[in-house]
């Protein structure tokens, strides 16, 4: 759980910036009865669930998570029979009987415990190790100095073939949500995997609806086909071909031409996606938020009123229409509405467009001297968005010099945050891997949450309230406390919430209905057009 947002955006920038072109050979005419689809995506980094950071769609099709969310964003069990706890600290996970991996091996408690231990073990340095950090004994496997003193986490215990217990380092009511599909570090692996982990990374054996029929090779497409003995909901299609593109704009054009079937709309194409695809454009509520961060250590931006003035000077509806083609949703809270219990509207008047009030607040803050530079990472296709912000702040606040300034790339942008050299309001995005407010609030507004540099904000009161919320006995009680956290943070107004993300996808006419969970497509339940 180190930097999910970083990972997501890093992936985006890799896709955008990569230099070499990649094959996108035309596909033969759809033979009648062809029930496979082509998913246009970026090149995977890894296919092992404990390692992947950009291959969500591929891994999600080959593996089944313990839990998922239904349309009301409520928890639903997939591989798990139940996940229960009396004190929110020790959780008992029972698995459904009769599930098998693609090689016929049954899915047991060992499949989970062994995989989690292997992922968490420091010397393996697997990318998703951090997701398991709240399990007791994780620190023994990942000492800050020296050799690990254990190879397995003391918090994991196998009770019987289908049951195991997880002891956390502290009470956490959100633990079941953390087990949902986005956190692939919590996926199981069969025993066969450990024989040759490199080969497994190329051709993972999972417990999901699709199985790999050929190993993945660099820059080549690969196909997964429906797994006949899948114990969950049977896939509606026969297979999915994952085709890598280095430039997602090309992928977009290919889907428009019918050479591929599904693609995530790249930022620069959002304005036109509606016109290009009509009702074949899907916008899924996603657990991500956009905001403007501030160099809070800079005296020019130290005033809460100034930051509120900037927030009220931005006409989010107009920006959404003009730049995003109306796809996103103007933010009214610090977390996305898809996060259960998000107190929508908690930001109140400060997230509403009101140029007069904004000017009054700016005066109260003592005005603004000099040039306001709004910093954003270049190369992601978000230039017009930030130009729009700059225009609005300049005109609506009457500040003479407001400039949108791109950095050369993502690395330079991130470096300016960590080294605290960023010179003005800056791009901010947090995409959570699981649909709990906990993740976004902890990451952005505490010192130890993972992305302290993203906002440079922390507050003892917030820390205390978050701990209380995590320890709440029920989810509903935790929601009330998280809402309180949002109120406390918004009193200081360290960031300007701008948009709640929707993840837009477009499809070829071959696809009649594209289902999704938490913003990512559920490929196994895609409905094809008749004929």
């Amino acid at each position: 759980m180190k930097h999910p947002a970083l990972a997501l955006l890093g992936a985006a920038s890799v896709v955008v910036l990569a230099l070499s072109a990649c094959t996108s050979g035309g596909e033969g005419a759809d033979a009648t009865g062809d029930r496979t689809i082509v998913f246009a995506t970026g090149e995977p980094d890894h296919l092992t669930p404990g390692r992947q950071t950009v291959a969500f769609d591929q891994v999600l099709s080959v593996f089944a998570p313990l839990v998922t969310l239904n349309e009301q964003n409520e928890l639903e069990y997939v591989q798990a029979e139940s996940i229960e706890s009396d004190d929110a600290t020790t959780w008992t996970i029972t698995l459904k009987d009769g599930w098998t991996f693609h090689n016929g091996e049954p899915v047991t408690a060992h499949s989970y415990v062994d995989a989690w231990n292997h992922t968490a073990y420091g010397p393996n340095s697997w990318e998703n190790s951090g997701q398991l950090a709240s399990i007791s004994g994780y620190a023994d496997l990942n000492p800050t100095e020296g050799e690990p003193v254990a190879e397995t986490m003391s918090g994991l215990a196998v009770v019987d073939e289908l049951t195991f217990t997880v002891e956390l380092i502290g009470p956490d009511s959100q633990f079941p949500l953390q087990l949902s599909s986005g956190q692939t570090g919590f996926y199981p692996m069969p025993e066969a995997a450990y024989e040759d982990l490199d080969a497994y990374d190329r051709r993972p054996i999972g417990n999901g609806p699709f199985e790999m029929t050929e190993p993945w090779e660099d820059n080549a497409e690969f196909t997964v086909s429906a797994y006949d003995d899948y114990a969950g909901e049977q896939p509606t299609i026969d297979g999915v071909t994952f085709r890598s593109y280095t430039d997602m704009n090309t992928a977009y054009t290919d889907v428009l031409a019918g050479n591929a079937d599904v693609v995530f709309v790249p930022a620069g194409k959002m304005t036109n996606a509606g016109a290009d695809f009509g009702d074949r454009l899907y916008a899924f509520e996603a657990p991500g938020v956009d905001y403007l961060g501030f160099p809070l250590w800079d005296p020019r931006y130290a005033s809460t009123e100034l930051r509120q003035a900037i927030s009220m000077a931005i006409d989010r509806d107009a920006v959404n229409e003009a730049i995003y083609g109306g796809i996103h949703e103007p933010a009214t809270a610090l977390t996305a509405p898809s996060m259960a219990g998000t107190p929508e509207g908690v930001c109140g008047e400060y997230c509403e467009f009101d140029p007069d009030a904004a000017k009054a607040l700016l005066e109260q803050a003592g005005g603004f001297e000099g040039t306001m530079e709004i910093i954003y990472p270049g190369g992601l296709g978000i230039d017009s968005l930030f130009e729009a912000y700059a225009n609005q702040i300049r005109q609506n606040l009457g500040i003479a010099d407001v400039v949108a300034k791109p950095t050369t790339d993502w690395a330079e942008y991130y470096e300016s945050l960590t080294s605290k050299t960023v010179t003005g309001p800056h791009f901010g995005h947090w995409g959570a891997l699981y649909a709990s407010q906990q993740n976004t609030l902890r990451s952005l507004f505490t010192e130890t949450g993972g992305c302290y540099d993203c906002t440079a904000y922390s507050n003892a009161e917030v820390d205390a309230l978050l701990a209380e919320a995590d320890a709440a006995p029920t989810l509903d009680e935790s929601y009330a406390l998280y809402a309180e956290v949002q109120e406390v943070v918004l009193e200081d107004f360290p960031t300007v919430p701008t948009f709640s993300n929707k993840y837009p996808y477009v499809t070829s006419p071959k696809i009649a209905e594209l289902p999704a969970v938490s913003g990512s497509v559920v490929l196994s339940l895609v409905e094809l057009s008749e004929g």
Binding site: G268, A318, E321, Q395
Partner: protein, 301 residues
């Protein structure tokens, strides 16, 4: 070699300077092929110098006043060219864009020409090692892919303004002209009147400035004019690729870059800046062409 020398302009007798200009110039100035592009260019230069005079013609003269809610809307009264993606007036932006485009064109050409004349004259007049070194240098620059070079240099510069973009463009623009200057200078270097000047004991500097250059510069002027046109195009292409000028500068390249993705829904965003760009470049190049036929002795029958 002797043939080339024959083609060189006639020697300039002392006391009567540049009589060769008289007749063809008059004829040219009166011709339509000169008047039309020159008038267009004059207008564009005035626009570039005083954009505010023209931008306000339709009542919305500030290119930075934008209403996002009008984003991409078609031409309307007061906004003859419509609105861009940010809801700003396209007409005002195109007018203000003239400045940076022309500035880059003129500035680059001036820099490149000065460099070319200095280096080309040294190479052509001195010959020997200096010639060899400068000639190989031009070969290296000419052999280097322009776009690649420009991308590398511009990305590493960081700050990209009219000045830096011009510097980079002239870095890759001077070699062709330098080669031309060298050729012309070589062809007059051993002409009788130059030898005569040398025998009379006139200093090298004076020989070059008074006898060599006036006779060697004509073809350079023609090429320089045409270069200005291609530099403006090059600036637009670089800016379009995202490595030329950057916002908040206002330039046609930037407008084209942001318009290209909206082309299908709002074609006017692409049409108007391209129209101005095309007219400017066309005027410059046809002016250059007219100059060429005026100054080229072979075409003067």
């Amino acid at each position: 070699m002797s043939q080339l020398a024959d083609l060189a302009p006639a020697p300039v007798p002392a006391g009567r300077r540049t009589p060769w200009r008289r007749t063809p110039w008059r004829r040219t100035v009166r011709s339509i092929r000169f008047l039309v592009p020159a008038a267009m260019l004059a207008l564009l230069v005035v626009i570039a110098l005083f954009p505010s005079l023209f931008a306000g013609l339709f009542g919305n003269g500030d290119p930075r006043v934008c209403d996002l809610r009008m984003s991409g809307d078609a031409p309307a009264p007061g906004h003859p060219f419509g609105y861009d993606l940010q809801g700003c007036d396209v007409y005002a932006n195109v007018i203000y864009g003239t400045q940076s485009s022309l500035a880059v064109g003129v500035f680059t050409t001036m820099l490149a020409t000065v460099a070319a004349v200095v280096l080309g004259t040294i190479a052509g007049y001195r010959g020997g090692a200096a010639d060899w070194i400068i000639s190989r240098l031009t070969d290296v620059f000419l052999g280097f892919p322009f776009l690649l070079g420009a991308i590398v240099v511009l990305t590493s510069i960081g700050q990209r303004s009219v000045l830096t973009v011009s510097l980079v463009l002239s870095l890759f623009g001077w070699p062709l002209m330098a080669r031309l200057v060298r050729g012309s200078v070589r062809s007059v270097r051993n002409a009788d009147y130059v030898r005569a000047a040398r025998t009379m004991g006139i200093g090298t500097g004076r020989i070059i400035s008074h006898h060599v250059l006036p006779n060697a510069l004509a073809p350079v002027l023609v090429i320089a004019t045409i270069t200005t046109g291609s530099v403006i195009v090059a600036e637009s292409s670089l800016t379009y690729l995202g490595i030329g000028l950057e916002a908040p500068a206002i330039s046609w390249g930037l407008q084209l870059a942001s318009a290209s993705s909206q082309f299908l829904s709002s074609p006017h965003l692409l049409v108007f800046p391209s129209l101005f760009l095309a007219v400017t470049v066309l005027s410059i190049i046809s002016l250059g062409d007219t100059l060429r036929s005026t100054l080229d002795p072979r075409r003067q029958q």
